[in-house]
């Protein structure tokens, strides 16, 4: 009997430039996440959660409502708005030739900000380059942040790193890298070390949905599961990895939260544009971690409104207006509307806050530019040779001499 010919399947996104934006391939139903299981619940009873969606904003009487005090929500809103204004400003600064490179997290601000606020100051975050909001929510000095972007004389990283690839130990923010997923396992190792030491601190690691295809993602999950590490492992599923849609990372088959199932750890799928849902899911996972119940994988469903970076033009591969059709809306608007509806905020106060933040940013940028924007100022060239090793070897000594410094 003649066998039918095989055919190769290549995933394609639902819409390309010129097409009508579509997201009907994604489910936004609460599903199993309509309930909020007690955080002590055994993993075996949580296996339906990765297919639901944890939501609070816009859901009447959501089981996951963290019932935050208004001032906490206002602080979150402020940090999110600050993040957006900051990023818009330095995206423009790239067009003006003041930074060599920049990345925005537009549409994803709630994730870094809510998690930064919900976790303890002594917990440790192993970030991606799209959670700058973590630093702003913790009050990292604006001018110092801009000095890093400018690689100027006061750059805390001494001119060695691309803009946005910050490192801020005192703010619980691990050194960033452009390699994908290579720090996910560090979060697990750090958490294991904390557990080994009888400490109380936990770790949070981030990757994007595209990075779930990297071996490092699965290695980290394996170690986290095997050693029951006190760590929260977050996948920010923003639908796009540069020009590659999430389907090429496997999103057509299952959810990213469901990757947890094979490791025997809880997986939560969370509305990543919902400040309160993120907060609540983070606290739920943190409670488990702190009680020696081990890791949780959280998928944050969100949308990358901006291009991948200043080097990217998303209109080349997706509908120009796709972001406007994103069903989970805008995280800033949603929290603001919630606060206004609850009588804890007003449009006037919002306007006033934005003006204040704008002025603050302008002042900080001005101060950093007094030191110098990219290329106008740089750290001493000797910094090129420092910190390769704790103590330099003869190569550094000789090569510095060769360069005449």
């Amino acid at each position: 009997m003649k066998k039918p010919p095989l055919s190769l399947y290549i995933p394609q996104p639902p819409a390309r430039p010129g097409d009508k934006a579509r997201f009907d391939h994604l489910s936004f139903d609460l599903g199993a996440a309509a309930r909020m299981p007690d955080w002590r619940t055994p993993e075996t009873e949580l296996r339906d959660l990765p297919y639901g969606l944890v939501r609070v904003l816009g859901v009447e009487g959501s089981a996951w409502d963290p019932h935050l005090a208004p001032e906490v929500m206002r602080k979150g809103l402020r940090a999110m708005v600050q993040t957006r204004l900051f990023e818009d400003r330095f995206f423009r600064a790239h067009r003006q030739g003041k930074v060599s490179f920049f990345m925005k997290s537009t549409g994803e601000e709630a994730i870094g900000v809510a998690q930064s606020m919900a976790l303890e100051p002594s917990d440790m975050c192993f970030p991606t380059y799209r959670v700058q909001g973590w630093l702003l929510a913790r009050g990292y000095p604006l001018e110092k942040m801009i000095n890093q972007l400018y690689s100027n004389e006061r750059d805390p990283l001494h001119g060695r790193q691309l803009p946005v690839l910050y490192s801020a130990r005192d703010y619980g923010f691990y050194s960033l890298s452009g390699n994908l997923g290579s720090r996910f396992g560090h979060a697990v190792g750090w958490a294991m070390a904390s557990a080994y030491s009888g400490d109380t601190r936990i770790a949070l690691g981030y990757v994007g949905e595209g990075t779930t295809a990297e071996g490092a993602f699965h290695e980290a999950l394996t170690f986290a599961s095997v050693y029951r590490a006190p760590v929260i492992l977050a996948v920010t599923n923003n639908q796009w990895a540069i020009s590659t849609f999430a389907g090429v990372a496997g999103a057509e088959r299952t959810t990213f939260a469901a990757k947890a199932l094979a490791y025997g750890i809880p997986g939560l799928r969370v509305d990543g544009n919902d400040f309160l849902a993120i907060w609540s899911a983070t606290c739920w996972a943190a409670s488990r971690a702190r009680a020696n119940l081990g890791p949780t994988l959280i998928e944050f469903v969100t949308y990358r409104v901006a291009g991948h970076s200043t080097s990217d033009d998303p209109t080349r591969y997706r509908p120009k207006d796709e972001g406007e059709h994103w069903p989970l809306g805008d995280p800033v608007e949603r929290l603001k509307d919630h606060l206004i509806a609850a009588g804890h905020w007003t449009a006037e106060r919002q306007e006033q806050m934005e003006a204040e933040l704008f002025d603050e940013l302008r002042e900080a940028q001005k101060a950093a530019e007094m030191v110098g924007s990219f290329g106008k100022s740089k750290p001493p060239v000797s910094e090129m040779f420092n910190d390769v090793f704790k103590d330099p070897d003869w190569r550094v000594t000789e090569q510095r001499r060769e360069l005449g410094i």
Binding site: F126, Y174, H186, W190, A193, A220, V388
Partner: protein, 338 residues
């Protein structure tokens, strides 16, 4: 003083560090209860507990990522990669993370980790249990690479590596685990018993990284070697009849350039010996450094005696392995020029 083979000496180093520093953890594939496929971690779990010495998933990338995270926290993990041939899944972690962390974070974070791994041939291990990948790591700025040649050095260097604040790759010449091997594969096996370099103190001592050992003084030529090749060099020098100075580099990064330079300036001739294939090998760097620093003192072109530029071949082990006869020929060749 007790006599130890290299396995026992390495085990003793780990034992000393586990006992004197609660930040020390030892882990890797099969290293826990079983004590490692070469027995280097034997008894450590029973003595120090399952939290100090344990088995890991078969995941070299995961092992090193975990070690880095622990190092960042403040521990001093010692991770074993079962064979150097299997270290490549961890290459991204070693190169992009461990080696770069201090630099890219402006000194905020670093990875004080030690990666132990048996390397090298001479055991009929074929392509996947015999390779010498040290040049891949020597090229990476930000990590140190150490290779002992005796039980005494193995213990002192491993303790120094664990106490380093920078990441260290510690390659253990597996052909030397049970006894010295001079490349004469058709002769009876020798053990370390009774040899002076197998006299190993029980307690804590260190051999600083970046300090070579002059194993044999000589006036006519300098032989640069490390690991198993130090023993091959002794035999090759004896066979050649050349009064050669033998330098055991002990760590290839940092390199003891002063000892190397002083010796070649004295002898005027240099032969470099390593098991790894020749092209782009660590010998190429040594050769370049020596000619840059000693060109006007050289009486002869520098010679390299290395593995051939082929994968490590199983049936042709002794055709591939650079033995004493090849070194002796190279020494006689450099002696032709005065």
């Amino acid at each position: 003083m007790p006599s130890m083979n290299m396995i026992q000496a390495l085990n003793s180093a780990l034992d000393v560090k586990l006992a004197d520093d609660p930040r020390t953890l030892v882990f890797g594939e099969d290293v826990g209860y079983f004590g490692g496929v070469f027995r280097v971690t034997e008894g450590l779990q029973a003595k120090h507990g399952t939290k100090r010495c344990f088995d890991t998933p078969l995941s070299e990338g995961g092992i090193i990522a975990t070690a880095i995270g622990m190092g960042v926290y403040g521990l001093r993990p010692v991770a074993e990669i079962q064979f150097a041939d299997y270290i490549l899944p961890a290459f991204d972690q070693i190169v992009s993370e461990a080696a770069r962390l201090r630099y890219r974070s402006g000194g905020e974070f670093w990875a004080p980790i030690t990666i132990r791994s048996p390397y090298g041939g001479g055991i009929f291990g074929g392509q996947t249990h015999s390779q010498s990948p040290e040049a891949l790591f020597a090229h990476v700025v930000g990590i140190k690479t150490v290779i002992p040649s005796t039980p005494y050095d193995a213990k002192g260097l491993l303790i120094a590596a664990i106490e380093e604040d920078d990441p260290v790759i510690f390659f253990e010449p597996k052909r030397l685990y049970n006894g010295p091997f001079d490349g004469r594969h058709d002769q009876a096996l020798r053990t370390w018993a009774g040899l002076p370099e197998a006299e190993v103190p029980e307690g804590h001592y260190k051999i600083p990284l970046g300090k070579a050992a002059v194993v044999r003084e000589g006036a006519e030529a300098t032989v640069l070697a490390y690991g198993t090749m130090v023993h091959v060099a002794k035999a090759g020098i004896a066979d050649s009849g050349v009064d050669a100075e033998l330098i055991d580099l002990r760590s290839i990064v940092p390199l003891d350039i002063e000892t190397v330079t002083a010796s070649v300036q004295k002898t005027g001739r240099c032969v470099i010996l390593h098991e790894a294939s020749r092209f782009g090998g660590y010998g190429a760097e040594l050769s370049a450094l020596v000619q840059e620093r000693c060109f006007w003192m050289l009486k002869s072109p520098i010679e390299r005696v290395c593995g051939w530029d082929t994968p490590y071949p199983h049936a042709f082990e002794w055709d591939y392995f650079p033995g004493p006869a090849r070194l002796a020929r190279a020494l006689l060749k450099v002696m032709e020029n005065s």
